[in-house]
Symmetry: C2
Subunit: 149 residues, 2 copies
């Protein structure tokens, strides 16, 4: 994990389809070396996977919401995590400090889909209390700022 690796990560984060030759030129290394470095980054888990950044709106997921979850005292926390990991509407789920137990980011087709989701959490006895915050617009949704160009 040196400066070159970080540079490669940055380039791939911007566009993971850049050719090895291209990346090699940017970091002043042969395509083979870049290939080997990427292979190692994947093997070591630094690169979790190659993926795409899709427009959720275009996919019919028009609503983005943050659901704060206060777990009920008798809730099966392991079951909750499994449920979250498998639910198609859940984009993120974090265990957090503060007044709430979990912060859950969900994407759904419409506002109307939120209530059934909360109802399901309640039905499964996970929920003691919750608060839902709707995102009106998104300023940004990527960690990596494109470096100087």
């Amino acid at each position: 994990m040196d400066e070159i690796d970080r540079k490669i990560i940055g380039i791939l984060a911007q566009d993971s389809r850049r050719s090895l030759t291209d990346i090699g030129a940017a970091v002043e290394l042969s395509p083979s070396s870049v290939n080997e470095r990427i292979r190692r980054l994947v093997a070591s888990g630094v690169i979790r996977r190659f993926t795409i950044d899709a427009d959720h709106r275009a996919l019919g997921l028009d609503v983005l919401a943050f659901v704060w979850v206060g777990l009920s005292p008798d809730a099966d926390e392991e079951a909750f995590r499994t449920f979250m990991a498998g639910h198609p509407s859940v984009a993120e789920c974090h265990h957090v400090t503060g007044a709430w137990s979990y912060c859950v980011k969900v994407r759904m087709p419409s506002l109307g889909d939120i209530e059934p989701f909360l109802a399901e959490l309640k039905r499964r006895r996970f929920l003691a209390r919750s608060e839902t915050v709707i995102a009106l617009s998104t300023v940004r949704e990527t960690q990596f700022t494109s470096p100087e160009r």
Copy 2:
């Protein structure tokens, strides 16, 4: 945007390096057709970009926090958005309903880096009030659940 396009998106979200032949087999289409569909999905903006999912810990970003921002009444909101869009520690920034103006997801090397960030927001007269929630662990951080296999 039909069922096949959605299927392709799903496959690429899981692994954007799958070959066209491979994807073609999965959706029962020739590699050329898959290529053309992907080209159109990119052109129409449904696929925003090809990227990677990196392990932030390995990159030295050990801390994940949600900063709830209450914008001060005299804040230059456009300047705030520009600042958020450009700040390297900001992973997400959403305009939200409820008691707060914005929800900002930040990733930083250490807890100690949060205070200077807030100080900077204050210095720029953006901040009326704020609340910071630290993520202790992450259950999930991807929208797409891998379909049946």
